[in-house]
């Protein structure tokens, strides 16, 4: 991990790493034919217990009742899972519908409609929600919330106020204003093997962070990078191979080329810096969240290094007691299809406030049918919350009601933008690292 700069040896900084991915691993789970009702029950119960503890500080004078216990005109609080009824949401039954209208084969980017309405559901029953406080475009199916309101004559529930779980408690990160700068580099969407990815850009990136480029000052900055996180979609297989036909040996070798290319590049990184790689939508990992770590056999070169870590998606870890949490983008992309926000970073903030990373799972986002827990429930507030494979680099710092401070990062796709994100562990400051290969 040393770079000889001529005058002396520049040493790379190091950080203490602790992986918190245990709750996302499914090796110990056994599938016994359970359905998704189990994970919904676990989620409802977990969050309802939490919300019940928050209600006394919110509106202590109101009684809490179940959906079946609602009385007309009586103001009360109910807690349950939201279900958003969406007109445009694609259902498998459309294939069998008698009226084969010229429905577009091109899927709309967003399935929202002005007629969407919300329903609250708990074990006893469900009730339709009315009122202007609850805007259906913000909420999605699968959230657990507490609502204050009363039942109307029509049997609906008129909502007057809503309580979300809010940011979870956060352990203060160590404040060390005079300490060293240590950087964490985030990159995603490398898409090695795709026709649009420029291999020179990624090679430039690798050379820069390993310290093979630039003068002493550049190398000094590169030496402060303590961790690289690759947030999904590192490979892209040529789509033409997946047409259902048996692959000949020539096509089979074409299939393994992207991962071989990626391994060569990752070996260069892993030789010098600790590297975490997460699976994404296009990676050879399982489809349903939580995606399991990419197998070490895919990376014969890089897996030999102990700095190489294959991680789950979502991924959670601690670096020098700074807590990180992030995904490769599937959860936020799914939220963007079923709800609306002015910017992608708003979705990130909402998932933290709802204390649940992927509320739309298992409804519209593939998910493993857990029976006794919901691993997407955010128990401890991270200091850095990132998401990969987005359109552009956006970052913001949010404050919670309990002095929590979270840095939100949206990592752009490297193959399209040539941009990676660098974050300083000392003060959570972020900046972009762009690589261009135009010779103008």
């Amino acid at each position: 991990m040393e770079v000889d700069s001529g005058n002396g040896v520049v040493e790379r900084k190091q950080s203490i790493y602790k992986s918190l991915d245990e709750s996302f691993e499914i090796q110990k789970e056994m599938y016994r034919g359970q359905q998704y009702s189990q994970i919904y029950f676990a989620r409802l119960h977990l969050m309802r217990t939490l919300l019940y503890s928050l209600i006394p500080t919110w509106k202590p004078h109101l009684p809490v009742c179940t959906v079946l216990g609602l009385e007309q005109g009586k103001e009360c609080i109910i807690v349950g899972t939201l279900f958003k009824h969406m007109k445009l949401k694609p259902t498998i039954l459309d294939e069998y519908s008698k009226e084969r209208s010229a429905s577009p084969l091109v899927k709309p980017h967003n399935f929202m409609h002005s007629d969407d309405y919300l329903i609250l559901e708990d074990e006893s029953g469900r009730v339709k929600l009315r009122g202007t406080i609850l805007v259906p475009s913000v909420y999605v199916t699968g959230l657990v919330v507490a609502l204050h309101g009363k039942e109307t004559g029509a049997g609906d529930f008129m909502v007057e106020d809503i309580l979300e779980a809010g940011l979870p408690p956060q352990i203060d990160r160590p404040l060390n204003p005079n300490g060293d700068d240590k950087y964490v580099v985030f990159v995603s969407g490398l898409s090695v093997g795709s026709s649009s990815a420029n291999p020179l850009q990624f090679q430039l990136f690798v050379d820069h962070i390993t310290g093979h480029l630039g003068d002493e000052k550049e190398q000094g900055i590169a030496a402060k990078i303590v961790q690289v996180v690759i947030a999904g979609n590192s490979v892209e297989f040529p789509r033409g191979l997946f047409n259902g036909q048996n692959l000949g040996s020539k096509e089979q070798s074409k299939l393994s080329e992207p991962t071989k290319e990626l391994d060569i590049l990752l070996t260069q990184i892993a030789a010098g810096i600790p590297l975490d790689i997460m699976p994404g939508t296009s990676d050879p990992a399982n489809f349903a969240l939580p995606q399991q770590p990419l197998h070490k056999c895919l990376f014969p070169g890089s897996a030999a290094y102990n700095t190489f870590r294959s991680c789950t998606n979502p991924h959670s870890f601690e670096l020098d007691n700074v807590r990180f949490l992030g995904t490769s983008g599937q959860n936020i992309d799914n939220l963007a299809i079923y709800s609306d926000a002015s910017s992608r970073i708003d979705f990130l903030e909402r998932t933290l406030k709802w204390r649940h990373m992927a509320p739309t799972s298992p409804n519209t986002l593939g998910c493993y049918p857990f029976t006794d827990r919901d691993p997407f429930f955010v128990e401890a507030c991270p200091h850095v919350y990132f998401i990969g494979n987005q359109d552009k680099y956006v970052t913001s710092l949010i404050q919670g009601s309990d002095n929590q401070v979270v840095r939100l990062i949206s990592i752009p796709r490297f193959a399209e933008t040539g941009t990676a994100v660098v974050m300083n562990l000392k003060n959570l400051e972020c900046h972009a690292l762009s690589f261009g290969t135009q010779f103008d």
């Binding site: 034919g33 009702s37 189990q38 029950f41 676990a42 119960h45 006893s124 029976t371 006794d372």
Partner: protein
């Protein structure tokens, strides 16, 4: 299921001399819907209601232990029972702080394996 009563001829079908006729006491293991006891069926002790798939005319444990366990299965407070073993569901309820009855755990840990699955196991 409205035609189930008219299917009695199909149930007591007249066979050739070489084959034995189907006695009404013996349960039929195949899960044909017309043998269910949902409505209008005259079938005595249809298999769908038996959690062990065997006649329990002489099974005394059905009354006490099994009833308690079935009440535990049906109790909505502990969540859905399908797809989970009874012990797994009890342990989940315990872990979530729902205080499931200790008696149920004693029955599940102490006695034979034939009551480890929920009421609807293999039926739905």
């Amino acid at each position: 299921m409205a035609s189930s009563s008219s299917d009695m001829k199909g149930f007591f079908r007249e066979k050739k001399k070489s084959a034995k006729p189907n006695k009404s006491g013996k349960p039929i293991k195949s899960a044909k819907p017309k043998h269910s006891a949902s409505c209008g069926s005259d079938v005595v002790q249809p298999p769908a209601l038996l959690s062990h798939g065997s006649p329990d005319l002489q099974d005394e444990e059905y009354d006490e232990e099994e009833m308690i366990l079935r009440q535990f299965d049906m109790n909505m407070a502990y969540g859905p029972c399908l797809g989970m073993s009874r012990l797994g569901r009890w342990e989940r309820a315990n872990a979530l702080g729902l205080h499931p009855p200790q008696q149920v755990q004693n029955l599940l840990m102490g006695s034979k394996m034939n009551n480890s699955e929920c009421l609807w196991d293999g039926r739905v």
